[in-house]
Symmetry: C2
Subunit: 263 residues, 2 copies
């Protein structure tokens, strides 16, 4: 049976792999991290689309039955384009996250945090408004969060100071639910709760994405029946760096990461 | 007369353009910033070499008479390779910076700060040891400095806290001279002086690079004699973002930045 394909600009998409493995342990997974061109969050829509098409083609060469776009920037900028370009089912992270947020909010005030590209696209806002026009959305970009996580600065006072600065508009808007609109941000949950309070609902799309993937595979009757799936990891650069960071996102070590010379 | 070519992974190389324009106002300049693949500092040597060869080829298409590598990561990882591959004179930032530091230090203790790629390469250490084996070098990577500068966080307390953390080994080593081994770092001079003291010598390679370029053009008798040179700017992505940041590095606004579809 064919594997599930997952791609991301780098290492963050492993949070999605973690949930896929938990929910669908029999599935094989092929992961591609575009570490030669990471990060995508500061790049233009046009460039993100070009990179995403190339990444999808790479996964298709591995005969994947579904492509999971485990990157918020790609999902918000490039999903319609790649959905139109390929026949395989393609799942992004925006709709699942938006649905969960609309379901979770009690006061109809939802915050969204993400990279510049994700916030500029207004993809979460559009999706939430489609689901429930009453929900008020406050969205802010937090560009320093990704470098903090990648450097392993997760609980330092410095991170708290920057988080207070970024999250001020969400606090003022009195949101009760916040979409963590970047795969790196779940690692900053503690800091975000310190700023917005213990009772804030933090929505991490990864779980919802895994549920959606399971539904599609089930509907199309292409779920795997083998007992134990296998994950393979490919990157466009720096497999050592990827292996070093991977544990932080996947919750267990990753080995045998293979570098591909071009995607 | 042919222009001088300058390339960098992004916008930081404009600090070198600024010095070239000051010292060689009659020269035309063609600048290329690889903003689709920025940053280079976290990427492998092999990938940095591949990108650098492509960038050099782009400049050669514009008939440049000399290529100036205005990026510390490229200069430290890829310079020998590109010098061997092309016949045009190629100037990096490492030797000029190292020379200036060896000249400036009184106590023979020099600090080097840069990206992970630059520090890992030990290029500055090798160059300094060649010039004067007595000089003791202490080198540290400061990976959060580039995102701080690109986000315009130059004087905040947060930056000071992070700088204190990174620069502790230099303080302990009692260096009297520090090479700012990344084009972004001159913008953090104030913060670095707060940590290491007002009397620290901060070496910014850009000026020395311009002096070396002038010497080569003069030796080869290819200095331009026109009265006022013209600078052209090309990027591989996001010309608006480049224009927005450019003023911070060049000291004056940049307009008409052109995006090239592939390098």
């Amino acid at each position: 049976m064919s594997p599930i394909g997952v791609f991301d600009s780098g290492v963050g998409g492993l949070t999605v792999v973690k949930e896929l493995v938990r929910l669908l342990p029999a599935e094989d997974i092929v992961y591609f991290g575009d570490t030669a061109r990471v990060p995508y969050g500061i790049k233009s829509k046009e460039t993100v689309i070009r990179f995403s098409v190339e990444n999808t083609l790479f996964l298709l060469k591995h005969n994947v039955k579904l492509v999971c776009v485990a990157c918020n920037t790609v999902s918000s900028c490039a999903l319609p384009k790649i959905k139109n370009s390929f026949r395989v089912p393609i799942v992004g992270v925006i709709s699942p996250g938006a649905r969960e947020a609309v379901y979770a909010t009690k006061n109809n005030r939802v915050g969204v945090i993400g990279t510049k590209g994700t916030i500029k696209s207004k993809a979460y806002e559009h999706e939430i408004k489609k689901l429930d026009p009453k929900v008020k959305v406050t969205a802010v970009a937090c560009p320093l969060f990704v470098p903090f996580v990648e450097e392993g600065w997760l609980n330092q006072d410095v991170v708290l100071t920057v988080a207070k600065h970024y999250l001020k508009p969400l606090k003022e808007a009195k949101v009760d639910t916040v979409i963590l609109g970047c795969t790196h941000y779940p690692l900053l949950k503690n800091v975000i709760k310190k700023v917005l309070g213990e009772n804030i609902n933090l929505i991490d799309s990864a779980k919802q994405v895994a549920i959606e993937v399971k539904k599609i595979l089930s509907d199309e009757e292409i779920l795997n029946s083998r007992r134990c799936g296998r994950s393979q990891f490919f990157v466009s650069d720096n497999p050592e760096w990827f292996e070093e960071l991977a544990g932080r996102f996947l919750g267990k070590p990753v080995k045998n990461v293979r570098k591909v010379s071009s995607v």
